[in-house]
């Protein structure tokens, strides 16, 4: 299990290693020297004893023969003084005869204090010491005639050898200690000045960090190669950390932007779904009210007063339809009439109207890029958007100020496109820049919310919501940059118009004047009131009308009746209008198909349904537009819808 504490000081570790190493090496060396010395001493002892015996033999023989006891005693003393013998014992047979015994024994022996004293054969202590001697060598002393005159015995004690060997051990220990101390001191100094001090400096620099703990200063590049490399590595690491922090901050900011965008997108989607749903249902209601009011108005031509009442209902219905259109515009579920446009042209066209709207207190400045790319937009939508944003700017500018409308081309890189939530391609950017009061973050986050307004009674809260919906439908985006007191800049990114992929289909064609007919028309709608209204409108013009409240019922009628035209709602519970159309086109290719919807939803578009979508009739419908479209459709050649 790991602990959070340092295990041991580097000094202690190195000290232990050094002492162990020195002790082992010196011990091995000492053991070798010990054994070698011991063998050498033993050899020297043997050699010495042999040499002594050889030296003394001849001289002592003469002295024994001449009874010069003291003389050979002096010889033995001399030998004892010159050689490391423990004792030299001479047996003198001649003197022995005089004394009445085998031999007269004399000699010299080393006392405990190292002095050489006379050997006394009766001294038990001395005899015991002789017995304990490590080595002894005895040889006879003979005269030149070969007569045995005595003997000489050399005794060598291991005492001196032990002292010598003990001295080796003692010396070894002292050497080990001195060497260890020397090495430890040397290493201590070396480590202190060449490793630990630089490391301490490095630690000091690393500890001196900023708020994130990243070192503020670089580590100086000097010292030994290893410290130099370490400093370089740490500096590199610090640099990497700083770079990573910058990247991390950038990515954090981007993530935040994306998060905000996602949040806004989700919020807008939710609001779009809500407002779209409300508008759809409201449209159905308005459709019924307006439709019947139109029918009523046409029947009350003889009663002007009542006809006027019916007309008021129709007018209010139109106003209601206009309101729902704004809501649907935010939720993108609105009919779009896109065309190839040059924004500079639109701005020039709108300039006069805008100047009048902004009044003289606000200067309108156009900064338009040359060779501006084309875009594909619903012209009325972009005109509404410009007007809405200009009115907002006007309200934001308390006194005099300036509103700048600026255009330019911009090719977005992957990175920039990602930050804006767009694809990486060419865009035309329209910037609306005012010198107004600006916005704080809290307001900035809500400006696209439906019914959010900072203008009180002056605003409906749907202006920028419409712009937002418009930008979404345009496959572009809007970017807001504003700070309180610093003005506001709105950047609208529109995808560049691509000639090959954008085929403008014109809905304009022959407008029939006779709206009557006798063809069989099948109306499919899950809203019974609208179903009845459509049947009423078409029946009054002479058409044979069949009604179905769902796709299943419609297919049953188709199987049973000859139908010339299918007029179907898109959103239905069991099967939507596109699916029904697909079946009809396959089984009954001669039947003309017209779809209607309260939404401009392109989720089910494919090559075949594209035409159906293109000629979609959006609710609420006027009776005239319905009859005109049905009549036009029935009058078209049969193969047009199949393309």
């Amino acid at each position: 299990m790991k602990t959070d504490y340092p295990e041991r000081s580097l000094y202690a570790t190195l000290g232990i290693i050094i002492i162990s190493t020195v002790t082992i090496i010196t011990s091995i060396h000492s053991a070798y020297v010990y054994i070698e010395t011991k063998n050498k001493i033993i050899q020297e002892m043997k050699y010495s004893s042999k040499h002594t015996i050889v030296t003394l033999q001849k001289n002592i023989a003469n002295l024994i023969a001449s009874y010069a006891i003291n003389e050979y005693d002096k010889l033995t003393l001399s030998e004892m003084n010159h050689r490391a013998n423990f004792a030299i014992i001479v047996e003198d047979y001649n003197m022995g005869k005089i004394l009445g015994k085998k031999a007269y024994t004399s000699g010299k022996i080393k006392a405990d204090n190292g002095n050489i004293i006379d050997y006394n054969p009766d001294n038990n202590e001395q005899n015991k010491q002789l017995e304990e001697c490590y080595y002894s060598d005895r040889d006879d002393i003979t005269s030149s005639q070969g007569i045995k005159l005595g003997s000489i015995t050399i005794y060598i004690s291991d005492h001196s050898m032990q002292i010598q060997l003990n001295e080796i051990i003692k010396t070894t220990i002292i050497k080990s200690v001195i060497l260890s101390v020397f090495l430890i001191l040397s290493l201590f100094i070396t480590i202190r000045f060449f490793i630990l001090q630089p490391l301490s400096n490095i630690i000091g620099i690393i500890n001196n960090g900023d708020a994130d703990g990243i070192p503020v200063k670089r580590i100086p590049n000097h010292g030994s190669t290893e410290i130099f490399d370490l400093a370089n590595t740490i500096n590199h690491m610090i640099r990497s950390i700083k770079d990573s922090r910058i990247k991390l901050t950038e990515q954090h900011n981007k993530l935040k932007v994306h998060e905000d965008q996602l949040h806004r997108s989700q919020k807008m989607d939710a609001l779009g779904t809500l407002t779209g749903g409300i508008a759809h249902d409201f449209n159905n209601i308005l459709g019924v009210v307006s439709g019947y009011a139109e029918l009523l108005e046409s029947r009350l031509k003889e009663q002007p007063k009542l006809a006027r009442y019916a007309h008021e209902i129709v007018t209010s219905g139109e106003r209601g339809a206009k309101l729902t259109r704004k809501l649907l515009s935010f939720s993108r579920n609105v009919e779009s009439k896109e065309s190839k446009l040059n924004l500079n042209t639109v701005l020039y066209e709108e300039k006069n109207m805008l100047e009048k709207t902004l009044t003289v207190r606000i200067k309108l400045v156009l900064k338009l890029a040359e060779d501006l790319w084309f875009v594909r937009l619903d012209k009325s939508d972009i005109e509404d958007a410009i007007l809405n944003m200009s009115i907002n700017a006007m309200h934001a500018i308390a006194a005099n100020g300036q509103l700048t409308l600026q255009t330019h081309n911009e090719s977005l890189s992957s990175l920039n496109a990602k930050q804006l939530g767009l694809e990486a391609k060419d865009y035309v950017v329209l910037s609306i820049i005012d010198t107004g009061c600006g916005m704080d973050k809290k307001i900035r986050e809500k400006i696209f919310d439906p019914f959010f307004s900072t203008k009180g009674e002056k605003g409906t809260g749907l202006g920028l919501s419409q712009v937002y919906g418009f930008m979404e439908r345009s496959k572009g985006t809007i970017n807001v940059s504003s700070e309180p007191g610093q003005g506001t800049q709105l950047n609208l990114y529109f995808p560049r118009y691509e000639e090959n992929n954008n085929k403008i289909l014109s809905a304009d064609g022959h407008q029939p004047t006779n709206l009557k007919g006798n063809e069989a028309i099948l109306i499919v709608d899950d809203e019974p009131a609208l179903l009845d209204l459509s049947r009423e409108i078409l029946s009054q013009q002479g058409y044979h009308v069949f009604c179905a409240e769902g796709a299943k019922q419609a297919l049953e009628i188709l199987a049973a009746q000859h139908i010339n035209c299918l007029f179907s709602d898109v959103l239905m519970p069991d099967m939507d209008g596109y699916q029904l159309a697909a079946i009809v086109q396959k089984k009954y290719p001669y039947i003309k198909i017209q779809l209607t919807s309260g939404f401009s939803d392109d989720r089910h578009l494919n090559q075949q349904s594209d035409t159906l979508h293109q000629y979609m009739l959006y609710k609420p419908l006027s009776s005239h537009s319905l009859l005109q479209r049905i009549r036009t459709l029935l009058d078209e050649p049969e193969d047009i819808q199949g393309k």
Binding site: Y67, I69, N70, D73, K74, N94, L99, G100
Partner: protein, 328 residues
């Protein structure tokens, strides 16, 4: 007188000279033994007389053993003395080295030893009685150099027939003589050492030295008993009047020889007195009294010029010597 002294001297040349004097005593007498290197030599014989006389006076039984310069015999006498459990040993050893063994054996037996002349190379002893050999030899050297200068032989060679230089007395004599020679400016000195102490050996050594050094004009014999060998060699070489002879120690005929000019001078020790001093020291030791460890007695220098004045001293040194004998 000379004959008496001569006969007395030779009476001590036996291996054992029983000179015990029976003195009636109720208690057993303490026994002393005197081991002498060679009792045939008058010097030692006179010393033996001094010892015997003094021992008798002090009530000791004394036995004298002559080793005749034989180390083995000397050791045998020591062993015998130890076996006899004598009260004390007085020794005039064959040489100072052998004396060490004597002292060691005696010590092991617990017998005190007094050394009378010669000396020892080591060991423990009660007292060492000696002559001032160095001073005596120095005086002899002075007389010789003076005479050589008088005779005009200032550049001559001087020969020394030496006793063994292993003896301390021999070393001291040589040193004293050489000092005197050196002080007088003589440098040509040859030295030969006696070993057998025979007349023939002395003769040969002298003859060889005369042949080897034609300018030799003086011979100093460190001993005295073989002086005749020297005289014979000088005579045989035809240099009777060309070579001076000096001796150390005395022979009974020496006074006469000095008077006749045959001998230039001699350094006379006092062996009788030394023997007395040796016994006295032993007695004091055996009675638990303090003993002077090294006792040196003066040496008498006799030459033609002072022989008359020294006659009384000579008589005291050589008891029994008659004045008329000397004078004769």
């Amino acid at each position: 007188m000379i004959l008496i002294l001569f006969s007395t001297t030779f009476s001590y040349s036996e291996h054992k000279v029983n000179t015990s004097i029976e003195v009636p005593s109720p208690e057993p007498r303490k026994q002393l033994i005197y081991i002498v290197s060679d009792n045939r030599i008058p010097f030692w014989a006179i010393m033996g007389r001094g010892i015997t006389n003094s021992a008798s006076m002090l009530g000791y039984e004394i036995n004298i053993y002559s080793s005749e310069n034989n180390a083995k015999r000397e050791l045998e006498f020591i062993v015998k003395a130890i076996q006899d459990k004598v009260s004390g040993i007085i020794v005039s050893p064959t040489n100072s080295s052998a004396c060490v063994t004597i002292l060691k054996l005696a010590k092991s037996a617990g017998i005190p030893v007094v050394i009378s002349d010669v000396g020892t190379d080591g060991g423990e002893y009660v007292a060492y009685i000696s002559s001032n050999n160095r001073e005596g030899a120095y005086q002899i050297g002075k007389i010789l150099t003076k005479k050589l200068f008088e005779l005009g032989w200032g550049e001559s060679k001087i020969g020394i027939i030496a006793i063994p230089q292993t003896r301390l007395n021999g070393q001291a004599r040589t040193a004293g003589f050489i000092q005197a020679i050196n002080e007088s400016g003589f440098k040509g000195v040859d030295i030969k050492q006696q070993s057998t102490f025979t007349k023939q050996e002395t003769y040969n050594l002298t003859k060889g030295m005369i042949i080897e050094h034609p300018d030799l004009h003086a011979i100093w014999l460190q001993g005295s008993n073989r002086y005749k060998g020297v005289l014979q060699a000088i005579a045989d070489s035809g240099k009777k009047d060309k070579i001076l002879l000096l001796t150390f120690d005395a022979q009974p005929e020496f006074p006469e020889l000095i008077r006749q000019g045959i001998l230039l001078a001699s350094a006379m020790q006092q062996p009788y007195l030394m023997g007395q001093e040796a016994v006295s020291a032993m007695d004091r030791h055996l009675n638990g009294k303090a003993v002077e460890k090294n006792r040196q007695l003066p040496i008498i220098i006799i030459s033609r010029e002072n022989i008359a004045q020294q006659l009384k001293t000579i008589k005291r040194t050589f008891p029994g010597t008659q004045e008329t004998d000397i004078e004769n």
